[in-house]
Structure formats: C-alpha cells, structure tokens
Amino acid sequence: MEHDEQQPSKAVDTEYEVIEPGHSYRSVTDHISAIVLTRKTPKTWLIGFGVSFMVLSLLLMSLGGLLVKGIGLWGVNQPVGWGFDIINFVWWIGIGHAGTLISAILLLLRQDWRTSINRFAEAMTLFAVACAGIYPVFHTGRPWLAYWLFPYPNTMGTWPQVLSPLVWDVFAVSTYATVSALFWYVGMIPDLATLRDRARAKGAKIFYGMLAMGWRGSARHWARYETASLLLAGLATPLVISVHTVVSFDFAVGIIPGWHATIFPPYFVAGAIFAGFAMVLTLSIPLRVFYKLEDFITNRHLDNMAKVMLATGLIVGYGYMMETFMAWYSGNPYESFLMKNRFSGPYMWFYWALITCNVLAPQILWWRRFRRNVTMLFVVSIIVSIGMWLERFIIIPVSLHRDFLPSSWGMYWPTSWDWMTFIGTLGLFASLMFIFLRLLPMISIFEMRTIVPPAEGRSKE
C-alpha cells in the first residue's frame, strides 16, 4: 500500500517538498501579500461572502426567535434534553482542535510542513470556537445571565457547582478561546508589519499599522517574539487534550448507558483531531486552487493530513469497538440494550451511516494513490465531517431517548429552528473565513520565507 514502484524516485522527491522549487524570499512575500493588498476583490469572493452572509442571517433570525419565544422552539424535551445544541457545540469544538494541534504540537515537534497551513487552521479554530460557544450560551435560555457561570463574589449567594463538568467546560472553552486568539494574533504580528510596509492605500496603512503594534523587526523584537511563541505553544499544547477531555466528561461523568465509558477522554480527543483535519482539508483544497497556492500548500501537506486523519480515524474506530465489546462483556443489561438499540433501534440508519463515514471511508487513505488524488481527499474529508456529526448524534440523543425506564422513552427530532441555527452557524463560520481571507495573510509570510532553500532565496533577490 505504501509502495509505488512505477514512480521514479526523483518525482517522489519533488512531490514531497513543503514548498515548490523556484521560489525566492521576494516571490513568497509578493504572492501572499498580493492576495490581500493589490489584487482586486475577486467576483467569486463577493459571491461566496454574499451567500455566507445570507446564511448567517438565518442564525440571527433563529436566535432572535429563540430570545422571543424561548427554547421550546427547539426539539429538546423529556427524555431527550440535549439535542442539536450539544451535538453542534461538540462538533464545532472538535473541529477547532486541528488548528491548535498544527500550530502548537507540530511546532514543538519541529514539523516544517505545518508552516503553510497553520495560519488559516488557527483562524478556523477561532471561528469554530465562536460557533460552538453560541449553543451552550443560548441553551441557558437567558444568555444575558451567562456570566453567572463564572465563580465571582455576588450578593445572590450563588456559586457554580464545581463538581459539574459543565462548569469545567466554561473554563476549558474560555481558556481555549483566549489562548487560541492570542497565539493566532501574536503569530501574525510580523506579517501585519509586512502588510503595513507594503500597503499603498492610506486606510490600509493605518489598519495594518495599528494591528502591527509598532513591529520594526529588530533583533530584540524577534528574540522576544520567539520566546513568546514558544511559551504560547507550550500553553496551547495541553489545551489540545484538555478541552475535548472535559467535553467528554460532560457525558462520561454521568451514568447514562452510552455515556459512562472510561474510553471517552482519549476517544473524544482523537475524534476531535480527526474532524479537525477533515475540515482543514475541506478548506485548504479549494483555497489552494482559487488563490493559486499549490506551490505553498503542496501535495505533501495533503498527504500528511490524510495520514493524520487515517490514524485518528482508526483510534475512533477502536473506541467504537471497545464500547461494543464491553457492552457485552460487562453483562450490564442497560449497556447491552443500548448497543442493540444503536444497531437496530429507530436510529439504526444513523449508526450504520456513522460506521460507513468514520470507519470504512477513511480506510482508502492507506493507499498513496488516493491520498494524492485531491478530489478523492476532498470527498473523504466531507464524509468524515458528516460522520463526526453523526457520532455526536448517536452519543447524545440516541443514548438519551431510551434509557432505564421504557415508560419514559421518546423520540427526538430537530425542529426547523434547530436546523436554522445549525445552518446559520455554518454561515457564520464561512462569513468569518471569507473576511479573514480578504483582510489578513492566510499563510504565514515570514515562516514560509524560512523554508525557502537559502541558495534560491538569495540568487533571485
């Protein structure tokens, strides 16, 4: 599967570069900064942003309706008290993890292939966390009182229940959002200064000038910068693990069959990275075509991301297997009923679709031929995103709808308001992404310059 004898070794080598040959320092800077500064706003961008913005208004409508009427508009009720709100919260939070993994862990592991994808993967993290945060805050029913979730001295004599993983979530997610935003912004400062220096329009000069915070590129600036990014990477690394671990505790700490499983923490983390890399692929494959970035986001990047996806997908599959085996081995009738209910209950199609999307489909990534087939990769990445959404559906409503007492069983179906909110967050995510692509350098200019081969870099200066 790994071998490919027909390919002459030379071809393999060039295809496995992190930057295509022939680039100099100048061409890298020109290419990336031009997207923001000199090129005219492409028509496709306007159409894409327009459509995303319209979809975003769906979110505003659905949340507006929610504030007027209350969460009775959603499909959640007894016995299924957690539905689309938590499914989509976990789905979006999971997607964010690839950004942090790429920017923090791969930086510490000295993986040079992260360079061209880290900037927009981090942006993706931030936007995904923004989408995720909407759900629990609005699920409280009174989002204007969301600050009650924080422990602060108050006259009401209330204090959050520190034994509840939902409170741990508040801290995990808000720390995650803060550190990710800092990491992203600090990493961008040298590039913002480049844009400030290259901008011709006065407005752009002021805009990037303020964002660049007086960066002059002196040796002292760089030394401080290096220290800061290493420290932030060190801070962000445990977050890759901790955030989704705490999310898994939301379920595993309870005793609902299907939730109370010790494998949940590592299996949730692997699932988050799996979903995150799928989303990075979904975004980077069209991006590199539209903005002609194939030289920077090369086949090697796609190949490596596909491998990460395959590995994490196998871990997720291991989680499914252990859950199924232990449901039988434990001899617990509720656990084994839950499994039977997943396999052949009213939501069985969701379960089998999940297995197809998350376990079967990624197996084609064992073959290099498919990892190099961009269309195929794009399709698999979308299938995995759907699969990871289905996984949260299986874990949340399917575990809740038939628990211990058959007299209190019931079904869960999302309402049109649920769908509007979910599709609306897709619009929010896409709108933020389009604004990011238009205003900020989507690839780290100065880091790309460090991987230009030195001889070539100088010869063309």
Partner: protein, 383 residues
C-alpha cells in the same frame, strides 16, 4: 570493548536472575498459590518491555526521527526476545484455574455474570487467543528484523523502507488490537466482574513507558563506548527524555480519566476495583504512584539539564522502572487479596528472577548484531 561489556552485564543479569528464581522456587514449595501470583506479576511486567519495543519500533518506522535511528538496534533486539516471553507464559497457561476465577467451574456455576462471560472467558479460547497474540507479535518482529537486515545489506532505502512502513502501519493496527485484548485476558479477567473500556490503552501506554525507560538505561550504558559514543549526542537523549515525559503524561492522563469517571459514577459494578486499591496500605501505594510515577518524573523531565545528560536521565529511567513495577503490583495484586495488602517477598524475587533471565537474553540478542544504526548516515551532527 562493547562486546566484553555486554557479556559482563549478561553474566551479572543471569546470575542475579538465576539466584532470585532459585529462591522463588524454594518459596513455591511453601506457598504454591503465592508463587504463581508473583510469577504472573513478574511475567506481566517484563512482557511489557518487548511488546513496548515492538510498538516504538513500528512508530519510528512510520514517523521517522533521529531518536528512533539511534535506538533502533536496541528496539530490534528487544523484539527478538519475544520467543523467550512466549516460553515464559507457558507456566502461567498451565495454572489458569489457580489464577483465574472464571476457570474454576464451581465458582462459575453459582455466578450469573461469569456464566454470561463464559463464551469469552473459557480456557480453550483463552489459550487460543494467547497463541494468536504471540503469533502476531513474533511475525511482526520477524518481518521487521528481516527487512531491517535487508535494508542494511543493500545499503539503499528504495525497496526496504516502504516494506518496513507497510508492516509498521498494519502492525500498529494489529498491535493495538492484540495488546488490548491481551490486557483484558491476562489482567482484567483476574477481576472477572469488573470492566473498563480504557484498560487496553492504559496497558499499551504503560508498556511503552516501561520499554522507553528500559531503552534509555541501555543507551546510557552503550554510549560509554564506540560506536554509540560517537553517534549519540545530548540532543538524542533530550528527545528520548521528551518521549519518556510524553508517556509519563499519557499514563497519568489515562489513569486519571479512568479514576474520575468511575469515582463520579460510583456504580457497584465498577467502584470495588478502586475501593480495594485505596483501602489500607494500598492507599499509600496509590499516593506513592501519584508522587513518584507522575509528579516527580514530571518535574524532573521538564528540566533540559536532566534530559541532556545520559547518566542523569538513566537514573530517572531506573526510578521509573521501579515505579512501573509498583504500579503493576498495585493493579494486579489486589485482585487476589481484595483490600488486604499482602505483598509477599516473592512479589519481588519473581520479577527480579524473570527480569534477570530476560535481560540476559536481551543482551545476547543485542550483541549478535552490530550496534551501528542502519541509517546512521541520516544523523545530523548534534549539539
């Protein structure tokens, strides 16, 4: 020089092992039940090393890196000890009813849960599964060693590297499955009523940590003479120390996850496992694990100065190896005695005896081939 050194170490290991085994055998006459329990403890501890070596070797073939090149010979020698491990499990397999409750028909007859599990927990299937695990591990070890030889002889990566990667990719998948079910069979089923879905991960991480610590100790001895003295630089030990650090953290992560989830659920079918292991003196062992299996190595391995000095890092690794045995004893022994701590002197002599034999065999395997790494030319000049 290295050859002499290795054979000197081998003789010492052999003598220590034989002496400890002789003492333990004397104990067998007095207390056969305890002998087999202690033997199982020793076996489980040492079986983790070659299986962990196998996993680390496959991981290295997939992700590359200088850390793997310098320890590749050691890992390969570790995997070649698997036949000895297969021999070492035979006495356990001959005493299944003595060790495992589910193999005692009178107990099973009055226990609904054990009857439910009988299709899985029965002697013939248990033997078959154990044979299968060893078949898979030895086949992987054989292929990896064979291809590695091929790579060395041909002096080119063209044909051998893809083969090594293919075997490693599929091999890690098979390893994940076999190591998980081996831990369920050999250890978890000692408490046949209890279950935990993260158990296999805990054993895989624990085995990798034991193997990594063992490899660091071996490398700290090999680096005293050629060829490793010239090849291994402080940055290689730094990387190995970082890996050990990662496994310490992973061990703490999975152990804490299992504890928190079972503690908060507090279900009668799950919590006894922890009640037994926190009761009385076992509670102090649990605290010792927290302090010396996690907190202390965590702090020490954060320090660059420790990771870059081979001999200092090796001292941390030796401490880790001892704590791994304590952890294994904390997991295994209460299954036999419930909450009463009853560590027997054979719980020390049996692991030492089996370890002496295993280490001697390992050193023989290590001295059979050159220590010069296969891909030594890929190593950069270190700092």
């Amino acid at each position: 020089m290295t050859a002499e050194r290795l054979s000197g170490m081998r003789n010492k290991a052999l003598i220590a092992g034989a002496a400890a085994l002789a003492v333990t055998a004397a104990g067998m006459a007095a207390n056969p039940d305890q002998f087999w329990r202690s033997y199982l403890l020793g076996f489980l501890y040492w079986a983790g090393v070659p299986v962990g070596c196998l996993a680390l070797l496959m991981l290295h073939h997939l992700v590359g890196g200088g850390w793997g090149i310098v320890i590749r010979r050691t890992l390969e020698a570790g995997t070649r000890t698997l036949p000895l491990v297969a021999v070492l499990i035979l006495p356990v397999l001959m005493n299944i009813p003595r060790l495992y409750l589910w193999a005692q028909p009178d107990k099973v007859a009055h226990d609904e849960l054990l009857k439910h599990k009988a299709p899985y927990l029965n002697t013939p299937f248990f033997l078959g599964r154990t044979a299968f695990y060893f078949a898979v591990w030895m086949a992987l070890a054989w292929l990896l060693n064979k291809y590695s030889d091929g790579q060395e002889k041909s002096q080119s990566d063209g044909t051998w590297k893809p083969k090594l990667q293919l075997v490693s990719g599929l091999g890690l998948l098979l390893y994940g499955l076999t190591a998980t079910f081996a831990s369920v069979d050999w250890v978890m089923s000692l408490d046949p009523h209890w279950f935990s879905t993260i158990y296999g991960v805990m054993f895989m991480v624990g085995g990798a940590l034991t193997a990594m610590s063992f490899v660091i100790v071996v490398m700290s001895r090999l680096v005293r003479s050629e060829p490793m003295a010239a090849l291994m630089k402080p940055n290689h030990f730094h990387d190995l120390g970082n890996l050990m650090f990662a496994f310490v953290m992973l061990w703490a992560y999975v152990s804490f996850s299992q504890y928190l989830i079972i503690w908060s659920g507090n279900l009668p079918e799950e919590i006894p496992w922890y009640l037994h292991r926190f009761h009385g003196a076992w509670g102090y062992v649990a605290v010792a694990l927290l302090l010396f299996h996690f907190a202390l190595p965590f702090v020490l391995l954060l320090l660059r100065t420790i990771k870059r000095k081979a001999q200092v890092l090796a001292a941390v690794a030796i401490g880790m190896l001892i704590m791994r045995l304590v952890d294994m004893a904390w997991v295994v022994t209460p299954s036999f005695h419930g909450e009463h701590i009853s560590l027997h002197w054979m719980d020390v002599t049996a692991p030492v005896g089996i370890g002496g034999l295993w280490v001697a065999f390992f050193l023989t395997q290590l001295s059979r081939r050159t220590l010069e790494p296969v891909e030594a030319h890929l190593l950069e000049g270190g700092h």
